[in-house]
């Protein structure tokens, strides 16, 4: 039996919510981020699903942006009584970040102990059309070590192959695969590698839509998923967080998930600069329990609505930096915490990436790295 040190899964979100033309913020009255999730036990998994609800009220920036609407019915204006009906031009913001987190059941003693909360929440409005949200989300009631089974049994590998949700239909598959014999790292690593993926579908800034979208809340809805999986290569437990965004998910109760590999070629999709909206997200994984191991994070932005995590035996943390346009761009990155004795060259060699590339990606001024430093490792999306 292993020890059961209760841990707290914690990840931070830095999210930009872009408002449609004509819905720009003039003055923000209030803003709140609250989890609205349900916890379900499914086979060997515990699923946390729901939303992070970003709600608030703001006064809409009103002037310039109404040209398009005016072109629909340009030669009229509202009476005073109608102006009173829309006092102060207040717009309600209701933006939902779907959450889909799957944890191995053996990491949770009691599902009732699980608690999802927002530790820290802040926002900024760099431009009237953008609300930047930063939050720290934590999940308590998770334990570092497996409770009832030997840790990281070599033969016990499985793969979450397909994890699809198609509007009302949801298909969840798991496939078992053989695991590699190399799991030396994980033996000392309770959460060796966490993975989460992030994606957003293109914001459709169609002018016709905007004309008809007066006073609408933003149409795009990011979705966040966080699921566990095992990888046959690394034989480690892993958690994944899927972050999905797109008009195609409007109203969908669950994110649509597709196998990650399917999106590898999506990197070749045209990236149109028609709109300059850029979405950036950054997630970090923190664990209160001590660890002195290396873990990887894979950073992935996907074309399709969601990603299905291939099973791995190592935990991998996928960070996703999304740049949303008409087509999405897929990139992958791993994240590596440098250990004593590591050098930039050794890490570059380990991941078969030029050291210069690592320096550029990590904005390093020299090849010197320190123990505990996080390095982002770019990984070919076609692999």
């Amino acid at each position: 039996m292993t020890e059961r040190n209760q841990s707290k899964l914690q990840f931070s979100i830095e999210e930009s919510v872009w408002l449609n033309k004509g819905q720009e913020v003039d003055e923000l009255y209030n803003l709140a981020l609250d989890p609205d999730v349900t916890i379900e036990e499914m086979d060997d998994q515990i699923c946390i699903r729901g939303y992070l609800c970003l709600t608030g009220e703001y006064r809409c920036k009103d002037e310039e942006s109404k040209e398009d609407q005016q072109s629909v019915n340009p030669l009229s204006y509202r009476s005073f009584s109608q102006l009173e009906d829309t006092t102060e031009e207040t717009v309600n913001l209701d933006h939902r970040f779907p959450v889909d987190i799957t944890l191995p059941k053996n990491r949770v003693r009691n599902a009732n102990d699980l608690y999802v909360g927002v530790d820290h929440f802040d926002y900024d409005i760099p431009t009237p059309s953008c609300i930047e949200v930063s939050a720290s989300i934590c999940i308590t009631g998770v334990y570092e070590k497996q409770a009832d089974e030997p840790q990281y049994e070599p033969e016990q590998t499985y793969e979450q192959q397909a994890y699809q949700t198609h509007q009302q239909d949801e298909v969840y598959e798991q496939e078992e695969e053989t695991q590699s014999d190399d799991f030396s790292e994980e033996a000392s690593n309770p959460f060796p590698i966490l993975e989460f993926e992030s994606r957003r579908s293109p914001q459709k800034y169609d002018h016709d839509e905007m004309e008809a979208a007066e006073y609408q809340a933003p149409r795009t809805q990011p979705q966040v998923g966080f699921s566990s999986r095992k990888d046959h290569d690394d034989n480690q437990q892993e958690y994944s967080l899927n972050y999905m965004r797109g008009s195609s998910y409007q109203g969908a109760s669950h994110p649509e998930e597709v196998e990650a590999e399917e999106y590898a070629s999506n990197e070749e999709y045209d990236y149109r600069e028609e709109y300059e909206d850029e979405y950036e997200e950054e997630y970090s994984y923190e664990e209160e329990a001590e660890y002195d191991y290396e873990y990887e994070e894979e950073y992935e932005a996907e074309e399709a609505p969601a990603a299905n995590k291939p099973p791995r035996e190592e935990n991998a943390l996928y960070l996703t930096k999304m740049v949303t346009r008409d087509e999405e761009v897929l990139t992958k990155m791993k994240m590596c915490i440098t250990q004593a004795g590591d050098s930039l060259d050794s890490i570059a060699g380990r991941y078969d990436v030029p050291a210069s590339h690592l320096m550029r990606v990590n904005q390093l001024e020299s090849e010197e790295i320190e123990e505990g430093q996080i390095l982002y490792i770019p990984v070919s999306a076609h692999r």
């Binding site: 809409c60 009103d62 002037e63 310039e64 109404k66 040209e67 005016q70 072109s71 340009p74 030669l75 009229s76 204006y77 509202r78 009476s79 005073f80 102006l83 009173e84 006092t87 102060e88 031009e89």
Partner: protein, 304 residues
């Protein structure tokens, strides 16, 4: 000073001033009531002289500049200019006289277009924010809820105005007296006698808008449509001028007037100014709807 003017008139005009009816403005003479206008802007005076001469016809009379004994139409007066005009008081009827009114407005527009040169006023050089300020749409500091509530909509209206003006910037806008009010029309021997203003002309449709606005208040929708039809007979309100007319109506001039009233601290209380503002807002809103309906209806008739 007033005595000097009366003496000056008696010396130069073939009439004998009797007394002031309105000091330094209107006088009684042995040839009827006359109005004096003092001009400091010679260019504006010339423009006002020109349109009065141009519009005068058998069907339409204007308060032309009366000629002096020497045949001049103005007198130098203290580094300014003095002109003398007939003054009448019997209002010209509106109902069932839309054709005559339409002829007047149409001729004013036609002449205004003739006068317009290729260079538009510096409207286009004004930034949007400057335009908002010129309409007083930045005056939240007045802290008047009624006014504040109107600002977002007023800004949208101004943007619409700007958009349409920009869309038809290739069209010349007429030079018009910025205020063309129905009460300026008098009846003389059964004919319409138009008493013009003396302000500098503006290159916009604003003057026609003031006419339509007052007309709608004084008459009804059907009469307004007849007037528009009559104007259209003399100056085609089409090919973009219909849109420019609508744009001018959309522009939130009533907000501008209200802010100016409040800023000037006129005798009216703030609440009275705001009441007037609300009435003007609603009245203009209905006018916009009716004029747009007329534009739409007329264009459909043309398509047929």
């Amino acid at each position: 000073m007033s005595m000097d003017i009366l003496e000056l008139i008696e010396q130069n005009y073939s009439l004998k001033p009797l007394r002031w009816k309105l000091k330094n403005e209107v006088l009684e003479s042995d040839s009827g009531t006359k109005r004096i206008r003092i001009w400091s802007d010679e260019q504006a005076m010339n423009w006002h002289f020109s349109w009065r001469e141009r519009l005068e016809s058998n069907e339409l009379l204007t308060d032309r500049m009366l000629r002096t004994r020497d045949g001049h139409w103005f007198l130098p007066y203290e580094h300014q200019f003095l002109t003398l005009h007939d003054e009448r008081y019997e209002p010209y009827p509106k109902h069932n006289h839309e054709q005559v009114w339409g002829m007047l407005a149409g001729k004013l527009l036609s002449y205004g277009i003739e006068q317009a040169n290729q260079v538009q006023e510096d409207f286009e050089h004004e930034t949007r924010e400057e335009r908002f300020q010129s309409f007083g749409l930045h005056r939240r500091d007045l802290n008047l809820p009624v006014l504040n509530r109107s600002f977002p909509e007023a800004r949208r209206r101004l943007v619409t105005f700007e958009t349409i003006r920009d869309r038809y910037k290739h069209l010349k806008l007429p030079f018009l007296d910025p205020s063309i009010m129905p009460h300026q029309a008098k009846r003389v021997h059964g004919r319409l006698f138009w008493q013009g203003g003396d302000g500098p002309p503006e290159q916009s449709m604003k003057g026609i808008c003031t006419l339509l606005s007052d007309w709608r208040v004084a008459t009804d929708t059907q009469s307004l449509y007849k007037l528009l039809d009559a104007i259209h007979d003399h100056f085609p309100i089409e090919g973009g001028y219909d849109q420019l007319l609508a744009a001018e109506l959309i522009a939130p001039y009533e907000v501008q007037r209200c802010v100016r009233r409040l800023e000037s601290g006129e005798a009216n209380s703030a609440s009275a100014s705001l009441d007037l503002f609300e009435r003007e807002w609603e009245s203009n809103r209905v006018l916009v709807e009716e004029v747009c309906y007329w534009i739409d209806h007329r264009s459909k008739k043309v398509v047929r």
